[in-house]
């Protein structure tokens, strides 16, 4: 048995022994675990599960041991994911620290920053949020104006950030600020970290069409940020920001795997909600065609990600291929959400936990919130611009 096979066996055994039964059921929307100073757990098992995984250092399995991880190789980490999928284990903890700040610190942080922040993320002690967009700076992020005045050993920051997800619940923020207004807009941006409890930070939750209000407007009023909290170089935060966006896009392109699953597979939804003929085929021609096209697209997107992974491992990956993933992954997820509520008919347009089932309610919610996928993290339009200019070399206007 190869080392990897042994690892797979041991991993499966450990998960079976340590993952509480309740943590091996599909996660509901409100049951995510994000850790932090004021960590909230949906139930005791969720807390036990997180703690066991923290102890095993599998919350951030590829990070080095000194940073709170287990130092797994990519192949091992993939096996861990596969085994967790197989056993339907929930993610023990998730959040911006894991899939955005962590990777960025590993690439751009000082050793001191890594030792300071990564273990706290891995152990679920500190929950992070992101301070990127501003009211006038959405797709054109580099035009941001949140101003950081240089005061020697620290900055004084003033301005407003929008779309700070769970800004009212997070402990720390990674934030883009403008340290220079002369020259190209990309060249005066600095990437800083600060505590959300710092004086001068306030947040206001913004209600969305889903009824949720997990995004905040964040107001920064003379907030003091020590210079040791700069990640990368001063004025050169744009490189860090872009690297981090790549991680965000990757995560978003794989949402399908990471999100709580609906009650049924798409085929099961079809079988449950649609009229079938005597051979079990969906009667409605156009709906049958839509379902087929979605399933084909979905399967193909998965195969493309798998191919890119394997090509990466073999050292033959053309990076241009990965530039399409955020676009195709999020558009595909939107198609799925729309397809499912359409299959549900009236029940997919309900907003009523009593007259409709939990899952029907959840799918309507998912459909609404999914509209953000092709906007956040670089809109589909920005992605297509990037693909055409960077990957295909088409000229600027």
């Amino acid at each position: 048995m190869s080392n990897l096979d042994t690892f797979r066996k041991q991993t499966g055994d450990w998960l079976e022994a340590n993952c509480p039964a309740r943590m091996r059921t599909p996660s509901k929307r409100s049951e995510g675990v994000y850790g932090g100073r004021n960590a909230v757990f949906p139930n005791e098992d969720a807390k036990i599960w997180m703690e066991r995984m923290v102890e095993k250092r599998w919350t951030a399995p590829e990070w080095a041991p000194e940073y709170g991880g287990a130092g797994l190789s990519p192949e091992e980490a993939k096996i861990l994911v596969q085994e967790m999928d197989r056993l339907q284990c929930r993610k023990p903890i998730t959040g911006h620290g894991f899939w955005m700040l962590g990777p960025a610190l590993l690439e751009y942080g000082t050793e001191a920053q890594k030792l300071e922040h990564l273990p706290k993320i891995a152990r679920g002690e500190i929950r992070w949020c992101q301070g990127y967009s501003e009211p006038g700076s959405g797709s054109d992020l580099a035009s941001l104006r949140c101003k950081a005045e240089d005061k020697g050993d620290h900055f004084i920051v003033n301005g407003q950030k929008s779309w700070t997800s769970d800004g009212d619940k997070a402990d720390w923020i990674f934030c883009l600020v403008r340290t220079n207004s002369d020259g190209k807009k990309q060249e005066g941006i600095t990437f800083v970290l600060f505590d959300m409890e710092s004086p001068g930070v306030s947040t206001r939750a913004v209600p969305l069409i889903t009824g949720d209000a997990h995004f905040c407007d964040t107001f920064l009023d003379n907030v003091k940020v020590p210079k040791e909290n700069i990640v990368g170089e001063i004025h050169k935060g744009w490189s860090v920001a872009k690297a981090l966006l790549v991680h965000e896009r990757k995560m978003m392109s794989e949402l399908e795997r990471n999100m709580p699953k609906g009650k049924y597979s798409v085929v099961e939804y079809a079988q449950h909600y649609l009229a079938l003929d005597e051979n079990g085929k969906v009667k409605d021609s156009s709906m049958r065609n839509r379902i087929t096209e979605f399933l084909m697209e979905n399967k193909t997107v998965g195969l493309a990600q798998k191919r890119a992974f394997e090509e990466g491992m073999a050292g033959v990956l053309d990076m241009r291929v990965t530039s399409i993933f955020k676009y195709v992954g999020t558009e595909n997820k939107k198609v799925k959400d729309e397809l499912i509520i359409d299959m549900m008919g009236v029940a997919g347009a309900g907003w009523d936990n009593e007259q409709f089932s939990d899952d029907e309610y959840y799918r309507a919610y998912e459909w609404m919130s999914g509209k953000a996928l092709t906007i956040a993290g670089g809109s589909s339009e920005v992605q297509l611009n990037l693909v055409s200019k960077r990957s295909l070399g088409l000229p600027e206007q």
Partner: protein, 379 residues
Amino acid sequence: MPLVLNEEQRMLRDTARDFIQKDVPVELMRQLRDDGSSTGYAASVWKKMVEMGWTAVAIPEAYDGLGFGYMGVGAILEEAGKTLANSPFFSTVVLGASAINSGGSQQQKESLLPLIAAGELTIALAHEESNHHDPANIQLAAKVDGDQLILNGKKVFVAEGGNADKLLVSVRTSGVADEQNGISLVLIDRSTSGITVTPTTMIDSRNYANIEFNNVSVKQSEIIGVVDSGFAILDKTLDYGRICLAAEMLGGSQSMLDKTLGYLKEREQFGQKIGSFQALQHRAAIMFAELELTRSAVVAALSAIDEDSDDLAIMASLAKTRANETYRLITDEAVQMHGGIGLTDEMDIGFYLKRCRVCIHSLGDSGFHKDRYASLNNF
């Protein structure tokens, strides 16, 4: 088949536009939602609509109506769609009065249509029994008992089911589900004993209900049309509804296109108006083209009602399919082009997005109507 409004209809439309823009803005819909309104509309607005004669628009002059026809009704609903203005107009005038006028006895018309015209009677169509529109799928049982019918069964997704004075109910007087024969239409007071109305919240914040019928007794004289042969009237009534709902959806689409074009001309990113980006320009042009095409289909379908055309069913399925897909396209593009702000509750876009999806499932989604269109064309 005229495809332009006549002078009377244009005046009606202009009056409706002025009134709705001023007295029934989209803010009213927001307020009704935030207040948790149980009716989903403002009584005062409905009162004014009656005063303006809208309830009489499609009713023949012989029954105290104005006889302006459905081109006029469509013009009103298009204006209503622009601000998501809600009222019992659609269910009462388009579904209720049409069914009575198409299938009712002389005596029923004389007693009921003037009441509707005067705004003294509202009606809801209680028809669906499952999550998907399916006209002949009627199981609600109506058994003859002397001069009475006894009803047992349930209806779902009844628009205005919690508000209307009377329910127009499709029932099975013989045969089995999916058979067109054996269906009858009957008009019942909502307050009749044995009727239980359970409100359902849909994403568009309007009034819908699930309704149970438990040994509900109704006189046979309340049947609209001939017993067992109600399907033809029902399907015609549904076609009127599909077409007029498409007119409302057209208005919503127009409103979202206008709002989006406004945003494209105003919002700057990368140092330019985003409306100067060619990819968005082409998509905007396509939205405009789709909207104008759909408008043509809807107007032609309204005209088909007024002309009592043999093509009514084909035109209804065409208009509803196009309205479904155009409204979907334009609300989706409105969200995407507005970016994140389009997903905040403080913008109105979400209201249209949600209303659109409820409309899509009302009276037949695109799959239903494409299948029907194909079958009507023999392939």
